[in-house]
């Protein structure tokens, strides 16, 4: 049975980097797919990959991860303006817009990104 858990990004953000990364890896090891309403930073993603590598075994081949930023696929001019707006809001409120899905590679074949959606292809 596959479990999908939604964890508010506020909870994830309140953890330090180590705990944050461990949360995703531990959930994936328990075959749980985590969905959160925020985008991990590139450094967090790199840390998550590093931590995942330390846990890889025959029964845990790793993770699938995808983040989507709502402004990523806008036209160039439009993207610049909304990026400015977003950065300002992020600076003031600390909120990071987007969505992140992290799950076990054992059950997720691929997470496909396209201009307006993320598709989970299960094994």
């Amino acid at each position: 049975m596959t479990t999908i858990e939604y964890i508010p990004f506020g909870i994830i953000e309140s953890m330090d980097l180590k705990k944050r990364v461990k949360l995703f890896v531990n959930k994936a090891k328990k075959d749980i797919i985590v969905v959160t309403d925020g985008k991990l930073s590139p450094e967090e993603e790199a840390n998550l990959i590093e931590e995942t590598m330390k846990h890889i075994t025959k029964s845990f081949p790793g993770i699938e991860i995808a983040s989507l930023d709502p402004d990523e696929f806008k036209g160039e001019g439009e993207q610049f303006i909304s990026l400015l707006k977003k950065k300002f809001v992020e600076l003031v409120t600390g909120k990071r817009y987007g969505i992140t899905i992290v799950g076990p590679a054992k059950i997720i074949k691929e997470i496909k990104k396209s201009p307006d959606k993320l598709s989970l292809l299960m094994k």
Partner: protein, 211 residues
């Protein structure tokens, strides 16, 4: 500025050795990173950097070739070429078995591959410039590519995308341009050597952005 310091500046410019640029090659497994590293090293030193294989994670340790002198149009550039293991979010032992490796070999390769990914990420901080290699026959909009580019941008490391394997019919450069419009993209075939001149010109331009 005093006359003495002006003379000192001219003197040191005349005799200082050229700075060596650390050029990293990054990308997912099987994008052709080592084939590209071999091509660059062979073009200027006659020697190769590492072994290539169709089985993923052939490069499991960072490989370097130091002090390669690249010459273009009378200009010279000295680089330390750093070929890194492919970055991945998963390493499946079963994939190695399917590729024909024996169990013991597959197990060893998987373990070494995980260490290689960690090593590649750790080396990010040491790079002056990076060539992000993508397989032009595959979907470029993967989280690994996004993560690599995001980390390079966060570290302010000048980067260009190398769209490799353009000798293969289904290669699609437009897809890479659409996915990463803010980057300069140089389409090449590391295997055949197509467009390598363009890549060397682009490397010279890239190095100018090093702070």
């Amino acid at each position: 500025m005093g006359l003495f310091s002006r003379w000192l500046g001219i003197f040191s410019k005349l005799f200082k050795t050229k700075k060596t640029v650390k050029l990293g090659i990054y990308g997912p497994p099987n994008a052709g990173k080592t084939t590209l590293a071999n091509r660059i090293a062979k073009d200027f030193t006659g020697e190769e950097v590492g072994k290539v294989s169709p089985i993923p994670h052939e490069t499991r340790k960072v490989q370097t070739k130091e002090r390669i002198e690249i010459e273009r149009n009378g200009k010279k550039l000295v680089i330390n070429l750093i070929d890194t293991p492919g970055i991945a979010t998963k390493i499946d032992f079963e994939d190695f078995l399917k590729a024909g490796l024996k169990r013991k070999e597959a197990k060893k390769r998987a373990k070494e591959a995980t260490e290689g990914v960690i090593e590649a990420i750790k080396w990010l901080d040491k790079m002056d410039v990076v060539l992000a290699v993508m397989d032009a026959t595959k979907n470029p909009y993967t989280q690994v590519n996004v993560t690599i580019l995001g980390n390079l941008e966060a570290r302010d490391i000048p980067t260009l995308i190398v769209a490799n394997k353009i000798d293969v019919k289904r290669a699609n450069i437009k897809k890479i341009k659409a996915a990463f419009p803010q980057y300069e993209i140089v389409p090449i075939s590391a295997r055949t050597g197509k467009n390598m001149d363009k890549l060397y010109d682009a490397i010279f331009e890239l190095v100018k952005k090093v702070r």
